[in-house]
């Protein structure tokens, strides 16, 4: 079982981990506690909201593109809060490289556009499945959701790539340039 000691009742609401984002920040004065703490809460919330946008997109405002952008904004928020250390972290912690995400999204979208042909329907045709879920009610699942998922992945890939190349990449270049000036 767990080797962790039981937490006394009085300390239940005390945070266990660090509240600010991890990573060594070279310039401490540039960090704002408020933003970092807020980013902690907002990051998962915004991601969940982006998935909501993705799913309701067929009938209501939303869809793959806005969903992907909102999810991308969650990463942008982390980057702004954590600065360069967080930018590097997003790059290194992400198991999937951003270009792969883009390629995958594009692939999913194109294949789902061509898929109806296999069932004798025209390209980009969509089918609807309606079923009842207890407590939730009637749910419509539309096959064009798959295209939206492709777009969603594509946009997240683009935002992450932008963060990597225009965010931490430019900071790295600036640091190297400053290092060259300071050097002999």
């Amino acid at each position: 079982m767990s080797t962790r000691e039981p937490v006394p009742f009085t300390q239940w609401d005390e945070p266990e981990g660090e509240w600010t984002l991890p990573g060594a920040c070279p310039v401490r004065s540039n960090r704002t506690l408020m933003l970092e703490a807020a980013a902690r809460f907002l990051f998962p919330t915004v991601l969940v909201f982006s998935v909501y946008l993705l799913i309701v997109g067929h009938y209501a405002p939303g869809g793959g593109f806005p969903g992907g952008l909102v999810a991308g904004l969650a990463f942008v928020l982390r980057y702004i809060a954590g600065g360069e250390s967080e930018g590097a972290e997003i790059g290194s912690r992400f198991v999937v490289r951003p270009p792969v995400l883009m390629g995958l999204g594009l692939l999913v979208a194109v294949v789902s556009a061509l898929a109806p042909v296999a069932f004798g329907a025209p390209v980009l045709a969509s089918a609807k499945v309606t079923f009842e879920i207890p407590l939730v009610g009637t749910v419509d699942l539309v096959s064009s959701l798959v295209i939206d998922i492709g777009v969603y992945l594509l946009i997240i890939g683009v935002v992450l790539d932008l963060l990597r190349s225009l965010g931490s990449g430019i900071e790295r270049d600036a640091r190297e340039a400053a290092g060259e000036e300071a050097g002999p």
Binding site: V100, G103, L104, L107, L114, P122, V123
Partner: protein, 511 residues
């Protein structure tokens, strides 16, 4: 059959996705790119045969019928241009692969080139096939976004500067296009081209002229029509040879195609258009005279490209079936020959290490094959019989001669511009290939794709160039059947009914 129409658009996107995923293996990327373009060529050939035999092939995306949904239409004109464009794109890809292999070694992977190249091809295919104005805008955007990346690869100060000119001009024309679409939609309530054909006719004449002029300006910028041409000789020569060849061969011609399609289908005139005739003369003469003043080989070719856009405008301005047929034939001829010339220019640059004509000389002795490879497309461009240029120009001149007094005068300018082209090309040939042999300039930066010295050109590069020369010879050889197709395409364009009937159904034409 209708699924087939979507493949020239979807296959390159699929290829782009796969090449992004296969970014680590240069070999797989190359294979995907070549296979996709070869497949699209086959599809385009099948579409051409089908469109020629049974009329336009229409695909309704998602099964939604025409004025509501988006349609892709392959009629004779679009299928023919799609075929020739894809063949040229394929040859340019082979050349680009060859150049990359010889410059960077066999195992170097380029992660962005192949996906972007295929996306550019998607944009071109969509522009030819789309049946509505907004998808045309999307097609142009895909094409331009890809071209921004291709034109600014291996950046240095001068490339950033010319790239900025290109991006700003393109964005301006895109904004103008978007405004035009908004105005058209506000006035008619539709963006479907076939539907517009009927509805625009009901608009007041002033409004119709305004919309027509707006499309001429929009597509005129993209087609590099004088006086909207200034960006082209400034930006194209700054890209590597295969990229310039692709841009020069395809992008401006897509603008001409859009002009041809909208002016005949949506804004039909009743006789020769004075505005277009004047613009055609200006474009032909300014381009040809500009070419004579150039020392940079690529800039010279860019000015000639502008000049020959005027030829295509002339065919459109005559405004009858013969004129439209002449323009179609000229586009087919010009896509091939202009791309070939830029590829040969790339090979010459590799031999001499410079783009300046003054610094070259006596190349015929060291590279006789290059001399022949340059001479054939040069004479084709000038329109010497029996090349494809002669066939295409003859079609235009015939249209001009039968179109009336004004068009007959402009036909004289066609001859003048052809002579100026011939003079420019002969001057280049004499100065580059004859005369005293000059030492090739040393290569300052071996990794730079634009000017790479000396003699390092791989076999695929030559093979691609020879293949394109062969294509243009084949066009001349197949002039009979080809002009039969373009003549039918021309009368289709003028009659308008085959297109409208295919998209909206028979009732739309009768009612």
């Amino acid at each position: 059959m209708s699924t087939l129409v979507t493949l020239p658009v979807l296959l390159p996107i699929l290829g782009a996705a796969l090449t992004v995923l296969a970014a680590r293996s240069a070999r797989i990327q190359r294979l995907i790119g070549l296979m996709v373009l070869a497949a699209v060529s086959v599809v385009a050939a099948v579409l051409l045969v089908a469109a020629d035999r049974t009329g336009p092939v229409v695909a309704e995306l998602g099964g939604w019928p025409a004025p509501v949904g988006i349609v892709l239409v392959a009629d004779r004109l679009s299928a023919l241009l799609l075929l020739i464009s894809t063949v040229v794109t394929l040859a340019v890809l082979v050349y680009a692969i060859g150049q990359r292999i010889s410059d960077y070694g066999r195992e170097t992977a380029s992660t962005t080139f192949h996906p972007i190249f295929l996306l550019l091809s998607t944009g071109v295919s969509l522009a030819y096939l789309t049946g509505d104005l907004f998808s045309l805008f999307v097609a142009f955007e895909i094409m331009l976004a890809a071209s921004y990346v291709l034109i600014t690869r291996r950046t240095n100060a001068s490339r950033i500067r010319s790239g900025m000119t290109y991006v700003i001009i393109s964005l301006t024309s895109s904004l103008l296009f978007l405004t035009t679409i908004a105005l058209v939609y506000a006035a008619t309530g539709t963006v479907n081209l076939a539907d517009l054909a009927g509805r625009v006719a009901a608009l007041p004449e002033g409004l119709r002229t305004l919309l027509s002029m707006l499309t001429i300006v929009t597509f005129g910028i993209k087609a590099a029509m004088v006086p909207l041409h200034f960006w082209l000789p400034d930006s194209y020569p700054n890209a590597p040879a295969p990229v310039t060849a692709l841009f020069a061969g395809l992008l401006t011609k897509v603008g001409v195609y859009a002009l041809l399609r909208t002016q005949t289908l949506v804004f039909p005139g009743t006789g020769p258009s004075a505005v277009l005739l004047v613009l055609a003369v200006l474009t032909m003469v300014v381009g040809a005279l500009g070419a004579l003043a150039q020392d940079d080989l690529n800039r010279l070719l860019s000015f000639l490209l502008v000049s020959h856009i005027g030829f295509m405008l002339f065919g459109l301005a005559v405004y009858d079936a013969r004129g439209a047929a002449g323009t179609a034939l000229y586009i087919v001829h010009h896509i091939t020959v202009q791309a070939t010339l830029f590829l040969v220019s790339g090979l010459i640059t590799r031999r001499t290490g410079t783009v300046s004509i003054d610094a070259m000389g006596g190349l015929a002795r060291r590279a006789p094959m290059l001399a022949v490879l340059f001479a054939i497309p040069a004479l084709t461009l000038a329109g010497i019989p029996p090349t494809s240029g002669f066939v295409a120009k003859l079609a235009l001149l015939q249209a001009g001669a039968t179109g009336g007094a004004a068009t007959a005068v402009v036909a004289g300018f066609v001859v003048l511009a052809s002579l100026l082209t011939l003079y420019a090309m002969v001057r280049v040939w004499v100065r580059v290939f004859w005369g005293t042999e000059k030492e090739p300039l040393p290569d300052d930066d071996p990794t730079d794709e634009l000017v790479v010295g000396t003699a390092r050109a791989s076999r695929p590069m030559y093979a691609a160039t020879v293949a394109l020369v062969a294509v243009s010879v084949a066009i001349a050889a197949a002039a009979g059947p080809l002009s039969a197709v373009t003549e039918k395409a021309g009368s289709d364009l003028m009659a308008r009914t085959p297109y409208i009937e295919a998209v909206l159904g028979r009732e739309a034409v009768l009612g």
